[in-house]
Symmetry: C2
Subunit: 341 residues, 2 copies
DNA sequence: TTGTATGCGTTATCAG
DNA sequence: CTGATAACGCATACAA
C-alpha cells in the first residue's frame, strides 16, 4: 500500500505538505493540491485508516447495535431494511458500519461502551435490543453520540416509527368499510405495543365505539402460533368481531393462507389486516391491508441525524422524530355489505 | 480510557511487561499475569484497537461484501440469516464485522481492495454481489483471505448451498407422492440456477421421466409476478403438470394464497413447492413443501473457514464446501390419488 | 523475569 | 507556502 511518504518522495515534498493537501488545508495552493491528488491517484494511495484514527481519535465509522434474539433481529425484514438504509446513508457520507458487540479479549469482557471506545467509533445506532439491559443503558447514557430506534433515552435523539398513527389508520379504514366490531391482536407489552393500543383506542373513541378488552387479546410479535390462538379465541366469542387487526404481516399472511379449524362462518368471512408492510404483503392477491412502516426513512434518518451530531456537536439538541408510514389499502379488509350495527 | 501505561504505573511494572502478560507471552510467570489481568479489569482496560492494528497490521475484523440490489441482498431472509451467522461465529472468535464499501475519501474513490487494505481487514466474505464486477474480482484474486458464498473463484474457498441436491430432493418427493408431471419454474440464468436445473433433470432421468422444455419455464427469483406468469402459462398447456416447483418460498406462498385467474381445475388441484425454507414456510397451514437451505451453517462455515485461513495461512488450501439442506415435507405437494400415468 | 527503545502511518504544532 | 518533529497506544527485538 502506498503511503503518504511515497507521495512525498515522488513529488519531492514533505509528508506534512501531502497530508495537508489531501485534507484540504487552506495553506496549500490549489496547484500543489492538484499535483498531490493526481499523484495519489496514480499510486493508488488510500489513507491508513487506523493510523488516522490513532492520531485523530476519530474513526469515521459508526457502530450499530442489533441483537438477533430469534425473530426480532436482523432477520426481520423491518430491521434488515433499516440496517441497509443506515448503511447506504452512512457510506455515502464517508462512514463505515461496524457491529457493536461485547466479546472478550484475553479474558476481559468489555462492555458495549468499552468496545465502542476502544475502536474510537464515532457514534452508534441502537435498535432491536433489550433497552433495559444495563450494558445498553451505559452506552446510551455515555458521551458517545447515540441514536435509538423505536425507543427513547434521555438525551438521545430517537427515531420512532409512528405506531400510534398506524393502528389508528387501520382502525379507521376498517370503520370506513363498514366494520364496527374491530378487534386488535397486539404483541407483548412494550413501548411500541402501548403506542399501537393507544392508536386503536383513540380511533374507536373518535368513532364512538367503546373499546372492549375482549377485543384486545395479546399475542407475540412474529409468532403466528400465538396469533392464531388469539384469533381462534375471538372466533369463540358470543359477539364475534368482523375485522381483526394483527400484530404483524407475517401473522396476517399465515392467518390468510392457513386452513384453520373453528367456526367456518367466522373464519371465512372475517377481515384481516397486518402491520409492517413487508415485501410479501404487496405480492399476494388480494394485497394485504396493512400499514407500511417507512423503514427506509427510519434508517436514513437515524444515520443522518447521528452523523450531524458527530460532526456538529455544538449544534446538537436531542430530537424525537416520528416517522409516519402509509396505509396500504389492499383488499383483505372487505367492505361489509350488511354491517351488523 | 485506561491504557497499558496506566496499568504499568499502577503496578510499578513496565509497559512491555503488561503487554506481554496480556497477550499470553510465556516469558511472564502466572502470578504476574494474574496481577496484571486483575488490575486491567479494575481499571476497565480495553486495548486500543487501532493502535494494535497499526502495530500488528492485523485488525481482528473481517469484512463482509453484500450488495443490496432490491430484493436479493440483505433484505432477503437467506442472506440476512447468513450475515447473522457470520456475525455470531466471528464475534465468538474475537473478530468484528465491518461492511466493505468503496466510497470516496477526498476525491479518491478506492476500490474494494483498497478499502480492505487501508483498514487492514484480515479477510472478507463475499456474497450476493455481481461476481463479474472487476472490482469484486480484484478483491477475490488478491492476497487477502477470501471466502465466497454460492460462487467459486479460483483459489478462494467457497461455501455453496447444495442447489442440485435441493431440487433433486423435491422432484423425488413429488414422484414419491404419485406425481409424474412435475414442472420446475426456475430463476434467471445464474450458476445457482444451473445447478438447480441439473438437479431437476437428474432426478427425472433417474426416475425414467423425460425432461420437457415446456415444463421448465424461466421466471425471476423473488419476483412473484414473473412466477405467476410462468405458472399461468403452465396452466394453459395441453398436458398440464400436476406439481409445480417454484423459484423460491415467497413466490410459492404468493401462489398459494392468491386468487388467480385461469383454469380452476388446474389451479385448485395443482401441487406446489417452494425453495429456501424461510420462517414463514413453516408457519402456514399446511406447511409449505420446500427445501430448507442451511443458511445458518453456511454463514458459520464461511466465518470459521475464513478465520482458519487468516490464522493459519500455511495450512490453507482452497476448499469447495457444499452445504446440504433439508427437505421440508410439508403438505403442499399432495399425494396424487389417481396418478395420470 | 523484566525493562528499554523503536516504529507502525498519520496529523498537528510550530518554526522556517 | 513548506518542512521538521512530536505524539497517538501498542507490540516486539533486544538488552539487562
Amino acid at each position: 500500500m502506498a503511503k503518504i511518504s511515497d507521495i512525498a518522495k515522488a513529488l519531492g515534498l514533505s509528508n506534512a505538505t501531502i497530508s495537508k493537501a489531501l485534507n484540504g488545508s487552506p495553506e496549500i495552493p490549489q496547484t500543489t493540491v492538484d499535483r498531490v491528488k493526481e499523484c495519489a491517484r496514480e499510486l493508488g494511495y488510500v489513507p491508513s485508516h487506523f493510523a488516522r484514527t490513532l492520531k485523530m481519535h476519530r474513526s469515521f465509522s459508526i457502530g450499530v447495535l442489533f441483537v438477533d434474539k430469534s425473530q426480532s433481529g436482523l432477520r426481520h425484514e423491518y430491521f434488515s431494511t433499516i440496517l441497509n438504509a443506515i448503511k447506504v446513508e452512512a457510506e455515502s457520507r464517508g462512514y463505515d458500519i461496524t457491529f457493536i458487540n461485547s466479546e472478550n479479549y484475553s479474558g476481559l469482557r468489555p462492555t458495549y461502551l468499552q468496545h465502542v471506545k476502544s475502536r474510537a467509533i464515532d457514534g452508534v445506532v441502537i435498535a432491536s435490543v433489550d433497552f433495559n439491559d444495563p450494558n445498553v443503558m451505559e452506552l446510551a447514557q455515555s458521551n458517545i453520540p447515540t441514536v435509538t430506534i423505536d425507543h427513547t433515552f434521555d438525551g438521545c435523539t430517537s427515531i420512532m416509527s409512528d405506531n400510534e398513527d398506524g393502528v389508528y389508520e387501520l382502525t379507521k379504514r376498517a370503520y370506513k368499510l363498514g366494520h364496527r366490531k374491530i378487534a386488535f391482536i397486539h404483541g407483548e407489552d412494550t413501548t411500541v405495543t402501548r403506542k399501537r393500543v393507544a392508536g386503536y383506542v383513540r380511533a374507536l373513541t373518535e368513532l364512538g365505539i367503546s373499546a372492549k378488552d375482549e377485543y384486545m387479546p395479546m399475542a407475540r410479535y412474529h409468532d403466528p402460533e400465538s396469533v392464531i390462538k388469539a384469533f381462534q379465541a375471538l372466533g369463540k366469542l358470543k359477539d364475534k368481531p368482523t375485522c381483526v387487526l394483527c400484530t404483524d404481516d407475517i401473522s396476517a399472511v399465515v392467518l390468510l393462507s392457513s386452513r384453520l379449524s373453528g367456526d367456518r362462518e367466522f373464519i371465512d368471512n372475517v377481515s384481516i389486516a397486518g402491520y409492517d408492510g413487508i415485501y410479501l404483503s404487496r405480492m399476494i392477491q388480494p394485497v394485504l391491508t396493512t400499514y407500511c412502516q417507512d423503514s427506509e426513512m427510519i434508517g436514513r434518518l437515524a444515520a443522518s441525524k447521528l452523523i450531524s451530531q458527530i460532526e456538529n456537536p455544538k449544534l446538537f439538541v436531542p430530537e424525537l422524530v416520528k416517522v409516519k408510514g402509509k396505509l396500504q389499502e389492499g383488499g383483505t379488509i372487505r367492505p361489509l355489505v350488511r354491517p351488523i350495527e
